[in-house]
Subunit: 353 residues, 2 copies
């Protein structure tokens, strides 16, 4: 008997992204410009701009956008980059990032993008969003460029998490981070069967502190994930795995090492060979390129750092983001919403009992 023909796929529902436009390095206008660029595309993305209304209106008067897809929510205050997140949010419950998080909680937007104070963003989410059932702690993830390429699209980036949300992760937290990272790579990087590894001080499953040894055993038993075991520090720049999992303390140290290291290697080269003219010439020829390397390694340009584990997505764009980075962060957020990232994570978590 013939199956009935499947119903035609419905057009994607409109997705609405809340942008906290305040507190970033280049001011509200840069964030507004990046956000409303999304309203000119074919995908039906709406931008909800949260912050000082006068600043937003001024910025909007300078750019082209689709007014049907832009909404403005005034927030009277914001958290500056150098403020202590917890104290600042206590003092300013109506800071822009809090107002934006409440809009997402209340369903007036589907996801949150901010280029402001990272800690304040994570705290605002923790206050207003729920954790995905089965997740005990959120993780901050980031993509970074590697020597190897990844997935069917030969993406030159790996994903590493947690890089700073949870400094003391348990074995179960590390397992949840692995599930969240794999789901993100599948949906956002279109890497259908990403390899996942645990960062340790040796490749053997017995290596590492107890939490890492236990997480290795649990991940080995988890179905539906291509877990390739432990990797070492050298595998981070190599890109041995598509997703690398660690606690937020180790991940933060590694991420900041990566950020500083290309520059330092070139400094070291100059230091070691400053007397060699041939070398000087070689370095001069490369110097424009060092700028380009910095651009490639400035992975914040490639969509920002997602906070994973909450039932709503928060993308933290770098404080120094330009409009293009904000647009990219909005696109990533919209893709995660359209593909129901939170549901994908929940379905892939190990079932208790």
């Amino acid at each position: 008997m013939a199956e009935p023909a499947p119903a035609p796929k419905p057009p994607p529902r409109p997705v609405s992204i809340a942008f906290d436009v305040m507190g970033a390095d280049h001011g509200p206008a840069e964030i507004v410009r990046g956000a409303v660029a999304l309203t000119l595309g074919n995908d039906e993305i709406h931008a909800v701009l949260v912050g000082d209304r006068a600043a937003i209106d001024e910025a909007l008067s300078q750019v082209r956008y689709n007014a049907e897809r832009v909404a403005v929510h005034h927030a009277p205050t914001f958290v500056a980059m150098d403020e202590k997140p917890s104290a600042a949010l206590d003092a300013k419950p109506d800071a822009s990032v809090m107002v934006a998080a409440r809009l997402v909680r209340d369903g007036e937007a589907d996801a949150l993008v901010s280029a402001g104070n990272t800690g304040a963003g994570v705290l605002a989410c923790a206050k207003h969003f729920g954790l995905i059932p089965g997740v005990r702690r959120a993780a901050l993830a980031t993509v970074y460029p590697t020597a190897a390429t990844h997935g069917q699209k030969n993406d030159p980036f790996s994903l590493i998490l947690d890089v700073g949300a949870t400094v003391d992760a348990s074995a179960d937290d590390l397992v949840a981070f692995a599930v969240m990272g794999a789901a993100y790579a599948r949906i956002i990087s279109k890497n259908l069967d990403p390899t996942v590894a645990l960062l340790s001080n040796g490749t053997e499953s017995s290596k590492g502190p107890p939490r890492v040894v236990e997480a290795n055993a649990k991940l080995g038993l988890l179905s539906g994930m291509r877990f390739i075991g432990n990797v070492e520090g050298v595998d981070i720049p190599k890109g041995t795995a598509d997703v690398i999992v660690c606690d937020g303390f180790v991940g933060n140290v590694c991420l900041k090492m990566l950020e500083g290291v290309s520059e330092t290697v070139m400094e070291l080269a100059k230091y070691a060979y400053k007397e060699k003219l041939l070398w000087r010439a070689g370095l001069a020829m490369l110097s424009g390129g060092i700028e380009r390397i910095k651009e490639v390694t400035d992975w914040e340009q490639y969509g920002g750092a997602p906070i994973l584990g909450f039932d709503r997505l928060f993308i933290k764009a770098h404080g120094r983001s330009k409009a293009r980075a904000i647009t990219n962060a909005g696109k990533v957020a919209a893709k995660a919403v359209a593909n129901d990232l939170a549901r994908a994570i929940q379905d892939a978590l190990p079932k208790v009992g």
Copy 2:
């Protein structure tokens, strides 16, 4: 009243170093060559060669040395590089590294140098040496090249510890590591007042897991040390501190990242610019220099990695050490003995109650 004139300084007493000559990548002859080179110098250094007597005698027949300063101790077995340390030592109590450690314990040599299996070396020391009073756990330290220079001699290396001996360090362990690292920098690098920092996920003293926050507070109260607070991952390649302290898990991950990263940066540069001819030319001019960078970053050439915390010093040279690296490791060991490193560490540790 005039002080009596100080007695003339006695000549330095002879120092005897035990070399485990087995289990290294280039075979016993390379280790023997490096060890006996020390017996030709002006400092009165004696080399005790431990391993297969036939192999040692064969190697000695090929090189110049001062026979009055060379002794040979036969060991019937050894631990290979790929063996599990604990099981191997149980099965082979007369492995060369165990025999050498016993000679040091019994005062027939003052310090131990090995280029063999690292874990076996650490275990052999743990079995035969005592910990310095006040030290609860040993740490593996290593020097590595940085962008900044250090100390009065503009040394281009920083010291980082622990890089793998103790995966779960307490706050008190981290404090002891700081004391040990500072003493080592003073004595070996002749850096009279080294800066010491704690590796964390932020520079504020409140950043990090509880053990790091507690260690920061304790180090801040410790007299006789130039503690500069927390540093971040980016400060490792920069060389912000002369001595960087962390637990063995984080340190091992960071060290292995450093080892792999210069190569990967250049790979990335090629990947990003392979179409640009000018770039190709620049890279070709640099390619010989990449070899030189690798040499500079091959810090094992600069004396090996000391295991600190035991009452006797163990220098772990890299498995792929050539004779020069072994000679350097022996020199470092002799300097530590002549300056009584263990006593300096003990004196600098915080006094309990």
